[in-house]
Symmetry: C7
């Protein structure tokens, strides 16, 4: 169309570039790429989330640096990108999930929660006065069966069999595309995620820096693995 310099269109979320792009949304995705890598996977018996956390100092309390957040008993999420942004989205989803329980006397569907988060994220791409969320989420859970969704700064929501967000999204996805098989067991799924995580170069991979949560179809509740259990997979 016209010779386009991104600089001319990338200062405000409310401005399309001549080729129809929203640069501020694209830049927000770059913020996601600065976050630690996290994995999600639908397995035969449930869904798993596996997150790396960046603990660079012995002064930090690893337990306080949660990377996997419970939204409701049967739904959890892991995030990559700006930490404060993800906390806001998780808090929002928790409230919505509780309101759903109160209003309809039943737990939310995983997809409903994922879409509610995506809707909020979309709003911040269409109005001036704010900025898009600089964060992607993997939202896993079990209602009639195990589900996994990814939301990202544009507000799009995608259903996944297995997914990766953060610094090593691309390498992680390539690895999973080659190695993931539908119907994989939770046991094998966790091992696969750990293998993928090791390939991404995140380090050190220790029982303190890896967080794993599992929700089986049978129990319908997320459980975080203990450090000892995590260690058994490394």
């Amino acid at each position: 169309m016209y010779p386009v310099s991104p600089q001319a269109y990338d200062r405000a979320i409310t401005v399309f570039s001549p080729d129809g792009r929203l640069f501020q949304v694209e830049y927000a995705k770059e913020a996601v790429k600065m976050g630690a890598t996290a994995f999600g996977m639908v397995c035969k018996e449930g869904v798993i989330l596996v997150s790396f956390k960046n603990i660079q100092s012995t002064l930090l309390v690893p337990e306080s640096m949660k990377k996997i957040f419970s939204i409701d008993d049967h739904i959890a999420a892991t995030a990559s990108g700006i930490v404060g942004d993800s906390r806001r989205l998780i808090d929002y989803a928790r409230v919505e999930a509780q309101k759903h329980r109160v209003s309809y006397n039943e737990p939310s569907k995983v997809e409903t929660v994922a879409r509610e988060i995506g809707d909020v994220m979309q709003l911040y791409t269409q109005y001036g006065g704010g900025r898009p969320f600089g964060v992607s989420l993997l939202i896993g859970g079990v209602d009639d069966e195990p589900y996994l969704f990814e939301t990202e700064p544009s507000g799009s929501v995608i259903g996944l069999n297995a997914g990766v967000i953060g610094r090593s999204k691309k390498e992680g996805e390539e690895f999973l595309e080659k190695n993931y098989k539908k119907g994989i067991s939770i046991e094998e799924g966790i091992k696969l995620c750990i293998r993928a995580l090791k390939k991404t170069g995140e380090s050190p991979i220790t029982k303190e820096t890896v967080e794993i949560a599992v929700c089986t179809t049978k129990e319908g509740k997320f459980k975080e693995l203990t450090q000892k259990e995590v260690a058994s997979y490394l």
Copy 2:
């Protein structure tokens, strides 16, 4: 009039260019052209929607990537452009359709729903502080007879016998102009859309990447074809 550089007038939706154009609306239409191609068609016995979905990874769950959205029993829509934007419009239309049922004790007309969507889209072309919707919709349905409407970022609403949105709108329309005949049967209509879709170069065309929904005048309800049924047309 004056020598005009688009750059001077294309940063804000509230500014006309000297020749009376709204560049931000035109740029939003470019965002639509980045979306996957979708078709709609009025046939003898009803109306059909045929959408392609871009599934580039085996990690994706095709079923979760809906391209055809039910608005009411007898009205559905397919969208091309920014995914999050279309979700907002569809949600809005669903609520309006339900309010109409409650207020008037009768289903909405297809045209009414299309105009309500178009009205919202127009608002975002006239006020600052936001941006136009980066999405076009084909809205199909049956009330007294089958109807198809297209809405686009400017908020214009057009009645169609057959229509195309997305990446291959131009090629698709040229194909349909040559091959579509009024009174075509649903059976033939679906085949024609598939032929058109194949011509656009979208690929791969498989039972997972093509979504088809049909609403017959007789039944007055949209039904999505099963993957098996879709396969039978490919």
Copy 3:
């Protein structure tokens, strides 16, 4: 006064140029000039509206592309310019006309409706945060006698014996100034408009692309001519 470059004053509706012009209003008038041509005429027995519609594809449903809009039984309007903008103004006028009926138990005067539309259009030329309406309207109707008004982006409202808006406003007006006579019959008036329309170069002139509506003083209700009736004038 000072050497003036329009660029310096044409980005915001709230800014006068040093010579007292509002460039954004002038640019909005350019948007009107991109619309299809429409005619209105006061005749001996009533008022007529004759509009051309641009149907460039066989996929379009001509009936859905209304160019003449009923505002109340006895008042109708035709518009040139941005389609979505005119829909908003017409919707506004319809509501006002109904409120008038409810409040005063009598139909609105044609001039009242025209001024209400003009008032809304004026507002959008004085406040920031929005843009002027990119549309002109011919508003015809009968109360004590037949009336025709034109409103345009600046919000001005003019009473006319005969008027033209859209792409060929200038040529159309020159033609009518030469050929229109007060007291012309509806029959002759329609013929004169068709002749004018043919002169403007709009094409093709067919029973599908020309829309005609008539309101006689006697009946006091607008009636749209059937395609067959239209054809009889071509």
Copy 4:
């Protein structure tokens, strides 16, 4: 003070220039100078308004192009500048005049009405987000005696024996300063205004393009002269 380029201070109504000028108000006065010329005069037996209207096409209905507007029985105004802007001010003044009648059970004073209009105009010179009114008004009327006031874009309100607004304000005022005498009769006053109007070069001066209204102290009501009466003065 500093070398000043007007361009640096003339984009916003909320910005003073280094020498204390408000350029946007000055530019709005330029818009007034593009309007047709109008006269007002205090005479022995009452007050008169004489306005020229620019009727360049035989398609126009001269009666619809009112240049003198009744505000209340005993108060009328004529305006030069942006037509839509003057309509808003007149509408505002009418409502205020009616509210005054209802609240105090007596008609408004001419000066009160003029100041109310000036107050609104001043507001638009002090706040951002809008623009000044591009219009001047001559407001005439009779309460205890005949009065004439002029309001202009800055919101100033001036009492006058005789006044001129619009394109030929300067020439008109020079003519009246030479020829107007206090205690002039209405008959002579109208003649004087017509002579002044002819001197300004506005043309054609005909019974259709000149509008005259008179309010005598005796009757206390404005009456518009018929075209025949107007013709008798030309």
Copy 5:
């Protein structure tokens, strides 16, 4: 500090310059300097206000060009600068004075009124979206004894024995500093103001262009001098 160009800091009221100045307030003071000169003086028996009015045309009605405004029986003000701005401040002060009478069943103090005006003026120097008032006021009155205050665009309020505002503030103040003595009689005070006015070069000094108002401690009410009385001082 840094090499400072005023241009960099003088477009918005909300921006300090590096040396702590508010340029927009300083520019507003320039607007005051364009206004006609006015004097105020505390005398032995009361307080006086003497204002010049610029009557350049015989078409003007001098009585309508009030330069001294009553705020309450015992308080009056005269203003220099933008006429519409001063009207707003006077109207505000009148309402506040009346509210004070109603709330406390006693007249306002002169100082209270002056501070209320100054408070409003200060607000317009601290918030964006508006501009400072381009006007200074001399507010005179009598409560327990005669008082005179000056307010200016920054919102500062100063108590004065004698003061000057407008075009010739500087010359006027120099003259008064040399010639004013505390305890001067009203008679002598008026004469002194007239002498000062003549020195400033304002012309013509006539009974029509000079407005004088006096409030004696004894009567506690402002009275405007008749033109005849004014003439006796010239």
Copy 6:
């Protein structure tokens, strides 16, 4: 970090510079430096405030140019910088102090009042649309013992034994650091402040230009010294 030009970050209060500075707050402090010098001191028997006022014209009424403001019986403040700004803060503090008395049936603590003023000042450093207060205050008072606080444009609040604000803050502080001793008597304290004031070069130092207020622990009420008492210290 980067080569930084202050100009790039000093136009808005809501923008940090790359080295973490808020230039608009720093510029507001420059406005304070243009104000007259004022002193505050905690003494053995109470707290004192000593302010210089700039009286450059015999036309001014020194008594009206208050530099020390009572906030409550036992709390007073003196200000340097923009006069109108300080009046707003003092008014705010007075209202808060009265509300405290009504709510808790006891007088405010000096520190509470100082912090309330500082909180308001901080707000204007964090939000756009306004500007910081261009003023510093010394707030003195007695509750359980004598206190003195300084607030400045950033909103910081500091407890002091002795303090200086305004034009000669730096010289004044250096003088006091050398000469102030804790437990100084009020008598000696006032003398010390006068000595400091004389050193700063403010002139003329007379009983009219120096304002002194004292609040003893015993009486718990601020009293302003008469001109005669002031003179005894000069």
Copy 7:
């Protein structure tokens, strides 16, 4: 991606840079680095906070320059950066803590308070019209066991065994990483912090410039050490 100059993206908090950074948040962290150094530490018997205060003048009242703020009986915080900003956050946390006590009849958890502060800080990084808080906080307290959290301008909240904020954060953390051991006694912890503080170069280290507060698990209440107690550690 593109050659990026930070200047292009660092003026507004609502704008991402092309590589996904929020420059205004990074600049706010620079403001924190200008603040005095403070330490926090989890010890065997409780949690401690040790803060340095910059007392450069004998005129200051050290006791008034609080660096450790009580939020509730069992929670306290110390801050580095803009003083007024920290006061706002502390005030907010105090109110939230009291509301928690009233609503749930139990004290807040330390983590809850830290997250509430972080949530407010995050908000100011996502909306225009304000600026991020230029402050970091160390929040210590005891509920079931001793906790320490750090919040910073981005709104992130980190759990720590020991932490440092302010001018010497980096050196302080390096020192603590080498010397801190989990299970350290309060006695040793305070000594370690003092050693660290001495290493940072802050001076003078005296009983007036060092503030220490301790909360033991046993008592569950914060106590500030007296100057004498502080002196015993120096």
